[in-house]
Amino acid sequence: MSADFMLDSGALAALQRDRTRLLALVDLAHAEGRTLRTSVVVVTEFLGYSPRALRLAGEYVLSRLSVSPLAEPRARRAAALIHAALDDDGRARPSAIDAIVAAEAEARDAALMFDGDRRDFEALAEASGQLEIEALADLV
């Protein structure tokens, strides 16, 4: 079984700005049968904060993704991940959206590519124990 890709808002914003990387991701996903995924809450964050000039490019990127809805069990799991991340050493402060996309990736065994606060995502991965994460910056 091969892992799908889960993207956070930061990763989407990076792909929105750089179509050479979008093409690389699309090519790999197609070649290996991996779905590009995100969570519905990321849609709000990503489109909501897209600069006006990039909104169309944002819609283009988003339309290539499978968007998961959010139900209460996933929201509760995200809350549990935040609790564990906060309790761990108190330095990470993952947002609700980061935690929801992390919980979604965890539930689907998807690999989460992010371009945000590394400490927050590392704390969420630590809390999960099985969440696979990678900063987009480390892949370029």
């Binding site: 750089d18 179509r19 696979e132 370029v140």
Partner: protein, 95 residues
């Protein structure tokens, strides 16, 4: 696999499958028609990804090769770790 038309737009199928295949279908979907619908959706999705790649290339976009290779290496490492975790979980269940 036998196919039999039952109504306009639908085809009924019957198939003899090896037990492990049936078990995998049940584990993944809970029902066979759900599995077939899922397969059709996946095919459409990957057709769309291919069309997107063609469209980007037609617009003159060149793939970031370094990103592609790093992405591929990472996701294969993820697959390997997940497979190891699943095997460990299976072994723990069978004990």
């Amino acid at each position: 696999m036998k196919r039999r038309a039952v109504a306009s737009g639908y085809t009924k199928i019957s198939a003899t499958l090896e037990a492990p295949v049936v078990r995998q279908i049940r584990e993944r979907t809970g029902n066979v028609s759900g599995f077939l619908n899922e397969a059709a959706k996946r095919k459409l999705y990957f057709d769309m990804l291919r069309a997107t790649a063609d469209e980007l290339r037609a617009a003159g976009v060149q793939r970031d090769e370094r990103f592609y290779q790093n992405l591929k290496k990472w996701i294969h490492e993820v697959d390997a770790r997940q497979a190891a975790r699943r095997q460990k979980a299976r072994q723990a269940r069978s004990r």
